[in-house]
């Protein structure tokens, strides 16, 4: 029997260790990884230097790891095992019973320089505000919490939620912006006053929900209209929109990292909501200078397919322009990271022309030059709390 067992073992071993390389080679395909949202590593070019130093073999190992046959299935199985094992952290996410959260390291650092950093950032925005003012516009900065901050109380007691840092950054930045006279809309504090209701943020994505975006929109537009009566803004209210919850399963950024395997203990699932004005407003849309479909939602073709946060505006775009041909209304420029996307699907209804920039992708002009060229009536910066003090990406406006 021992001999039979050994023969069977050798057969299975040979089958596995010979078919994997053959199938890998046969199915090798460069391109993006859907779940990881990154490009798979391509096989490096063979070079004498690379072979001599060993870099070629290191890169080839990475390429092989990225292309091994059945990779998605393997990673999915590995994730399923980790979830079944009840690990508190899977694929670098804190797995709660009803929410997925970012992992924060167990580190601390001095906050001594926070005030000076916040003051420097506020001064930059004050000079931006001055520039906008010189072009006849007004500036608003909308600070939005990330999902892990919003649900900071959902972390298990032994996990780091980094509230000590986010609270301090928010307080320092808010105070510095006030000192510099830059209008700052603190979405976290407004939501906290409402008791931080669950429905304002996704459980499986690091963004706010459409309801969260709508609440931020109301906060923003209420203040813009109140402080700029000359613009004759009459923002649409909740009653002016038709809200629809899409039936499609939602693939949030966090659950995507878990291969859409995570289910909350209460059985509730995140859903995507959209809203369209009850009274139709004709508009045209351009993305990076090219005409696009006149739509602010990238809707799925069927009701069963997975949808993600990129439903709003079709995801992050370098430059988008929406024109409604209502010259009596003011124009707006909104810039920032992906938190702008669902806001844009609402904002355009209140303006004649809505321009949107994302400086992670847009590089044609500086924000200053853009403002000088188009002279928008209102400029809105939307950034999450982790980027308040950052000078890169959408923090670099010069």
């Amino acid at each position: 029997m021992r001999q039979i067992a050994n023969r069977v073992f050798l057969l299975l071993f040979a089958l596995a260790f010979l078919t994997v390389p053959l199938l890998t080679l046969a199915r090798w395909k460069d391109g993006p990884s859907f779940y990881e949202q990154r490009m798979l590593t391509a096989m490096p070019a063979l070079s004498a230097d690379g072979v001599w130093s060993g870099d070629y073999f290191t890169a080839a190992e990475q390429a092989l790891s990225d292309h091994v046959c059945g990779r998605d299935r393997i990673l999915r199985a590995d994730t399923a095992l980790d979830l079944a094992a009840g690990r508190p952290k899977v694929n670098n996410l804190v797995v709660g019973s009803d929410v997925l959260l970012s992992v924060n390291g167990y580190s601390r650092w001095s906050l001594a320089s926070l005030d000076s950093q916040a003051e420097a950032a506020a001064r930059r925005y004050a000079s931006l505000r001055k520039l906008i003012g010189s072009q006849g516009g007004t500036f608003y900065y909308v600070g939005v919490p990330l999902q892990f901050t919003y649900f900071s109380d959902r972390y298990p007691s032994y996990m780091e939620n980094r509230v000590w840092h986010t609270d301090a950054v928010r307080a320092a930045f808010s105070s510095a912006m006030e000192q510099e006279g830059v209008p700052f809309i603190d979405v976290y504090s407004a939501f906290a006053q409402e008791g931080k209701p669950d429905y304002l943020y996704f459980r499986t994505d690091h963004h706010y929900t459409f309801e969260g975006a709508f609440a931020a929109y109301e906060l923003l537009m209420d203040r813009v209209a109140r402080e700029n009566t000359a613009l004759s803004l009459v923002p649409l209210g909740r009653e002016d929109f038709d809200f629809t919850t899409l039936p499609n399963p939602f693939l949030g950024s966090s659950n995507r990292r878990l291969y859409h395997l995570w289910k909350s203990s209460d059985g509730r699932e995140d859903r995507v909501e959209i809203a369209v004005p009850r009274q139709s407003i004709p508009f045209s849309r351009e993305d990076s200078g090219k005409s696009s479909d006149a739509s602010v939602f990238s809707l799925p073709t069927d009701s069963a397919g997975l949808i993600g946060y990129d439903v709003y505006m079709g995801g992050d775009r370098a430059e988008t322009v929406i024109r409604t041909n209502r010259p009596e209304l003011p124009s707006v420029l909104i810039y920032g990271d992906s938190f702008t996307n669902p806001l844009e699907t609402l904002l355009w209804t209140d303006f004649d022309e809505t321009r949107s920039l994302d400086f992670r992708y847009y590089s044609e002009k500086t924000l200053g030059d853009y403002i000088r060229q188009y002279r928008p009536d209102v400029v809105i910066c939307v950034r999450d709390e982790s980027t308040f003090l950052s000078e890169s990406g959408n923090g670099a406006w010069r």
Binding site: R2, R7, L10, G54, F57, L64, V68, R108, Y158, E160
Partner: protein
């Protein structure tokens, strides 16, 4: 290239097996040639720049091995062996210790500048094999290898090339010329390989995450529990990392008909530090015993000299592991413990209950690994302070709770696998071999377990690129 890489598992190994067992290549010479060629490819995957050094080491040992062979005048043989030894040690010094020596000299002599060369993988292992080869020929306990192909294969055979075990020429010489590769041996070898892979990927790599987190944590944030957990995790990591590699090396050797000596024998069940070193990295400790301790006089010299011999041997054992003061300190620490056990408290220790002996030995080993893993003496002292209640962040931190919960399955499996549970289970099953179930488990159990663990290891390998071996740096 490492065993726990996809390129090894899915390209190198299948290709080697296919070529080696190809019916066209049945002669011993061609099979040895195939193994040598693949060994060079294996080593070359770390960069071809390391190949000239390996070639130099092979040529030095081959030539001086022939020159040290019996049949020549004794003084000539001694001189040849000495020159070969100096060449081996010279290469080791140049590539491994020059940076350390010049760095420390530069601290006292400003005219000296730090010089260092890139450390080639496995240099300590193949150099020690070369040294033992020359010494064995000089002593007459081994015949020199006349075939350059076989000498090169002995020194550079890929399973043991980069991380041991340190195989003496006498253990391999016969099998270089005559060996039998059978399906049963191949199956058992591959099973051993998969068990080793699982040890490395499923256990050692996971424990390294805990240990790295603890040793990277700032002292102000490190809790007492996390410090203990970090040291325990490192204790498990280094065992499963190195013994896993040894299992893979021994298993692969078996596939090709070679039988390498065991390198580990459940070191964490040792009852004393002396016992621990009989069970840990056996090929290294016996190397130092046979080629340094005994030639120095061993224990057949006056007491003072015996103590000096132990201090020399163990400080050098530490230094062999790496060119840093902490490794020397680690070796010195074991020298003191072994001297103490032999001359002071050994008798008293043996009279204690067995579990107390285990506890004392494990405590000594744990602190040994703390010295081994720490970045320097300040970190050792800081860890000791925190481990014994001087933690600024308290006794129980959230990080320790998290690490325990995250890796609870691995910790449980690791503790079980570090104990001779498998052997006990096998003995029990063999006693009941008459039962069909027990016989079936004995036959199919290892097969099924090896495949399952191998499959899980591949899952983890694809998931994570984290797979460098600790002993690679030595």
């Amino acid at each position: 290239m490492v065993f726990s890489s996809l390129s090894f598992l899915f390209i190198f190994l299948p290709l080697l097996l296919a070529v080696y067992f190809c019916p066209l290549c049945r002669s011993r010479r061609s099979r040895n040639g195939i193994l040598l060629a693949f060994s060079l490819v294996f080593y070359g995957c770390g960069g071809w720049r390391a190949l000239p050094l390996l070639a130099a080491s092979v040529l030095i040992n081959y030539i001086f091995g022939l020159l040290s062979a019996p049949g020549r005048p004794e003084r000539f043989r001694s001189a040849a062996c000495a020159v070969g030894t100096v060449c081996n040690l010279g290469l080791l010094f140049l590539f491994k210790y020059l940076g350390f020596v010049t760095e420390n000299l530069a601290r006292v002599l400003p005219a000296v500048h730090r010089q260092s060369l890139l450390l080639p993988v496995g240099i300590s292992f193949f150099t020690f094999q070369g040294l033992s080869y020359l010494a064995d020929i000089r002593r007459g306990t081994a015949e020199p290898e006349r075939s350059l192909l076989n000498a090169a294969l002995y020194l550079s055979f890929f399973p043991k090339l980069t991380m041991g075990p340190i195989v003496r020429f006498g253990d391999m010489a016969q099998e270089l010329h005559r060996r039998r590769e059978t399906a049963d041996e191949a199956a058992l070898g591959l099973q051993r390989f998969l068990f080793g892979l699982a040890k490395k990927v499923l256990l050692a790599n996971q424990f390294s995450r805990i240990a790295d987190a603890a040793f990277a944590q700032s002292p102000a944030l490190l809790s007492t529990s996390m410090a203990w957990l970090g040291v325990i995790a490192y204790t498990l990591q280094i065992y499963f990392d190195f013994s896993g590699y040894s299992d893979m090396a021994i298993g692969l050797g078996r596939v090709f008909g070679f039988h390498f000596p065991e390198n580990f024998n459940y070191p964490y069940i040792a009852r004393s530090v002396t016992d621990f070193w009989r069970r840990w990295h056996i090929s290294l400790s016996t190397w130092f015993r046979d080629y340094l301790y005994i030639p120095l006089g061993g224990s057949r010299v006056p007491l003072g000299r015996q103590i000096l011999n132990l201090l020399i041997v163990w400080t050098l054992t530490g230094f062999w592991h790496g060119a840093s003061w902490t490794f020397m300190l680690w070796g010195f620490y074991y020298a003191l413990l072994l001297i103490g056990e032999r001359y002071l408290w050994g008798g008293g220790l043996r009279r204690l209950p067995v579990w107390t002996q285990h506890l004392c030995a494990m405590a000594a080993v744990l602190f040994g690994w703390l010295i081994f893993r720490a970045s320097g003496v300040p970190q050792i002292l800081s860890f000791l302070k925190i481990m014994f209640g001087g933690a600024a962040s308290g006794a129980l931190g959230g990080q320790a709770v998290y690490e325990l919960l995250e890796y609870r399955w691995e910790l449980a499996a690791g503790i079980l696998a570090a104990l001779p549970v498998r052997d006990a289970l096998r003995r029990r099953l063999e006693r009941r071999r008459d039962s069909r179930l027990c016989a079936a488990i004995l036959c199919w159990g290892p097969t099924a377990l090896a495949l399952a663990l191998g499959g899980l290891a591949v899952l983890r390998l694809v998931e994570s690129g984290f797979n460098s071996f600790i002993y690679f740096q030595f």
